[in-house]
Assembly symmetry: C2
Homo-oligomer: 285 residues x 2
């Protein structure tokens, strides 16, 4: 594999049957070119998936890994209430990565991208010791409508989607489903929103810090089958949504109430009255 | 160093004195939010800088490495005739990377970003064996005005900026200067443009492939001091601009004529009548 032949193959694997709206130029130039629509804001997120940190070759196929790498970014777009639009993929290949493995990665990207009309418009290729994939996702929302972490107010009700601790209980081997539809539904309704990538305890702490509030978990947590309380609070990679709604606002049926935003030390999170440490999945630990 | 404390430090290092135009939300949420202006196209590029592939700890400081990592992306924006606007930085830290080294990287990013009013609006942090930095740069041009690789026509004159083989002759240790001002000057004038990242022979081949033309190098090449012909043709990382202008069009003074676009097998490049192989710096070699 040299750079020219790999890029030619990637270009073939990345070309959709029909180009996504707004793509002036995809792969094949120094930059991709996008033409924004009137009255939209653009969202940008980037996430690494690294061998032996986020996955191991022994337990995940290339397709699984490609899926997960894109899912992380799509989940960030979901958390802002956005539509996912475009992606760039940077690959630093390990010595063991053969042509067919890279093809499998792109199959994984494409399976998930196809479900959400996301087009891969660029990227970079290089080499290193451990396979490293950095996926950049670009999304959009109507102007001023992005959901943020910093809008929660005392009295707001805290909700989560789905079941917590699912990924941890399954040994982080599943293919996460980004909650894009739910995120869009929360636009104009939720006062704050983020995705659960590092566990409820850590992520709720972050949301509370950004909003300058404290949080009380009081309800029973909607735990996944076989998930322990440890999994539900501190397990990462669930890619569910964590959000707050004003008191009295009816929540979409995908959400379960888990607590209340209160006044207090910004970032303090309690469970049944006891302080929770902001620990969880830490990519640097 | 844990993720929370590192991100807090990065946020401090990345906060500019005044926010760049269009930044609705920078670091601190699931995504950065950008508000596009009317009548602009947006440009996206992403480039890895990886330990022992693009640099070594022994010969480059953290400041040098940060500078180079951002310079690669800015050079891609220059190649499209764009203004550089925003950057996202993904860091996968090696075990040896201490807090002060990461601070030095951000000093390097900031030194160069400050020269071009680029704001760092997001990123990701993780860990791996060898330090890996993926920098995403977002730029803009007036609508429809981006310079591309695919517009060269037979009869066009081929130019390069600056001196070739500079980085190779210096052992790839200098701080590259992205040619953003020259790129903007070429808007509406050049029929094609790209940056020289992998060497003239490889990059001119790529431009000729995209444009469906052949290229003849005939002039003396403007080589850097101490650069051999091998350096000038096949040395990477010069980050100068390669472009074509219609016959008779006056070239900006930064450019030197090196050849002509001709009809022929797409991608074929000759030097004084002899075929040149499309080889050069290959990040997969």
């Amino acid at each position: 594999m040299n750079e020219l032949s790999l890029i030619a193959a990637i270009r073939k694997w990345s070309t959709p049957k029909t180009a996504a709206p707004g793509v002036v130029k995809g792969i094949g130039d120094d930059c991709a070119i996008i033409r924004p629509r009137a009255n939209e804001d653009l969202l940008f997120t980037t996430d690494f998936v690294i061998e032996d940190v986020h996955f191991t070759r022994a337990t995940q196929t290339g397709i699984d890994t490609g899926w997960k790498a894109l899912a992380r970014g799509l989940s960030d777009i979901a958390a802002m209430g956005g539509d996912a639009r475009y992606a760039l993929v940077s690959l630093a290949l390990a010595p063991w990565c053969c042509h067919n493995y890279v093809r499998d990665l792109y199959q994984g990207f494409n399976k998930l991208a196809g479900l959400h009309c996301v087009q891969i418009i660029g990227g970079d290729v290089s080499k290193t010791e451990k396979l490293s994939i950095d996926v950049i996702v670009i999304g959009s929302t109507p102007r001023g409508k992005a959901l943020r972490r910093d809008g929660a107010k005392p009295g707001d009700v805290i909700y989560v989607s789905g079941a917590l601790g699912r990924a941890a209980a399954k040994g982080y081997k599943d293919r996460p489903i980004p909650r894009l539809e739910l995120g869009r539904k929360l636009r104009g309704k939720a006062t704050s929103c983020m995705d659960l990538s590092d566990g409820l305890a850590m992520d709720l702490h972050r949301l509370a810090v950004e909003s300058g509030v404290a949080a009380e978990l009081d309800g029973p947590l909607p735990s996944a089958p076989k998930a322990t309380l440890e999994h539900a609070l501190f397990g990462g990679e669930d890619y569910e949504l964590l959000c707050t709604l004003p008191p009295g606002r009816r929540a979409p049926r995908e959400l379960t109430r888990v607590g209340l935003i209160v006044e207090g030390k910004p970032g303090r999170v309690t469970l049944a009255g006891e302080s929770l440490q902001p620990r969880g999945w830490d990519p640097l630990a």
